[in-house]
Amino acid sequence: MSRRVRRDKHSGRKIWVLIVVLVSVFCLIFFAARGRFQAPVANQAVAVVLSPFERGISWVGSQLRYLTSNIWDIATVHEQNKMLRNEVEQLRIQNVQASEFAAENERLRALLGYKQAATQFNLVAAQVVGRESATWTSMIVINRGTRDGIRENMAVVTEKGLVGHVVEADYTTSKVQLILDPRSSVGTLIQRADSRVVGIVEGNLNDPLMPHMVNIPKTADVIEGDIVVTSGFGGIYPKGLVVGTVTSLGMDEGGLLVAATLEPAVDFQRLEDVAVIISSSEAPPDPLEPPAQTPGTETDPKTQLAEQKAAEAASEAPADTDASAGNADANAAGDANNTDASNTVNAANAGNAGTGDAQ
């Protein structure tokens, strides 16, 4: 066996080229991190080339998952059957309780006359076709782009809560920065009515699956188990989206503020389908309906018109003049009552809207 070691004869020029490239890229990192360098055309070109491969492999992955889950289901069917029987028993008990709660809820709603004010979102469903496996940032690629109305800075959610926002929208795909990303900042507040403490949720490099809520004053009323929702500040995320639950509290590095560790509402390990909020608007209040009127004092315009005609016909007979005036007074009183009732309903609706935001 030969003991000679071959050595490459690298010319000095190639080494210099390599050093220049490395130094250039090193500088580029800092320019790009401060937003002074972007390569949108190259980004789009890469997205166009990669997306069919990612879609194909993602499809194979979903088929594999389907197959393995089926095999697993068959293998564990006996055990599952036992567990399901137990679950059925428990659900029956819960069902009875739920019926009681539903009846109570209905009664209370009828009593208070509240109508739920709900914020309506226009959503576009999307599938996750790529996920960055890098250690330092958390991004996903979804199969919807500008073709489907996706634009930058649109919020991305699942039915469980907030996922992140679109940072780059190409024609067929978009990149979504998760709330776990250390560059992400979400304006949030504590949902509890007697707390409402405001803070910022940021990605946590030490434990990427547990983001931090920072900028909480030392004396703020925040406890473990509090639910954190978006505050709507900043304009990207609509108000009221669930971000996660406070699992622990600790002092920040400076010792002046508290940082809460959150367990996200969304399971980012199993993120497959998401929805992009392409627009959001408050639901319009239901049209006002006049309350039931006492027979004989109706203020319906048709009735009024009929009465007016009757009065005119009667005015021809001088003996009926006093009676017509009496009717007109009664109608005026009825109108005033009606206006008061409308104001009351409006106030109730405004109260509902406020409650909805808080919720």
């Binding site: 050595r7 990192i29 990612e54 492999i57 996920r131 490099l205 390990q269």
Partner: protein, 164 residues
Amino acid sequence: MKGFCLRAALVIILYALQTSLLPLIAWHGQTADLMLLLTSSFGIMRGMRQGSFMGFLAGLLQDLSTGTFFGIHTFSLTLIGTMCGFFSNRVFKEQFFLPILAAVASTLANYFILVLLMVLLGYRFNLVSHMEFMLVPMLVYQLVLAYPVHRFVYALEKHSGEKA
């Protein structure tokens, strides 16, 4: 030209696998870095020039497609490709332990290069807990996948060499 197309297809397919299929078996969000394994294998087999070039391309693809800090992977993978290529003439390329050792060394080197860059960018974190959550699982995945990826790249290179 045919060799270049073959390698480009290899990079794209491995990258698509890394972003689409490997997350299904991720632990705590961590999976294997196939671009790193590809770069180290390629550097060991083809030398410093081609190793650094492959690292540059793989890193650039990663930076452009994921929207991470632009240039961060280009920089680290170019360095890794160069370092692996530096040892290409000093090792026996068919040894079983070579890709495994190279994978461990390049994963550690890549991790600490990225740590340094993140610190220079102004991010602070607890290195010990970060290594526990990030580096250790990634090393396990790299150890498992290093040999298959290396054999695959080796067979492909041999095949394209014979054709040429």
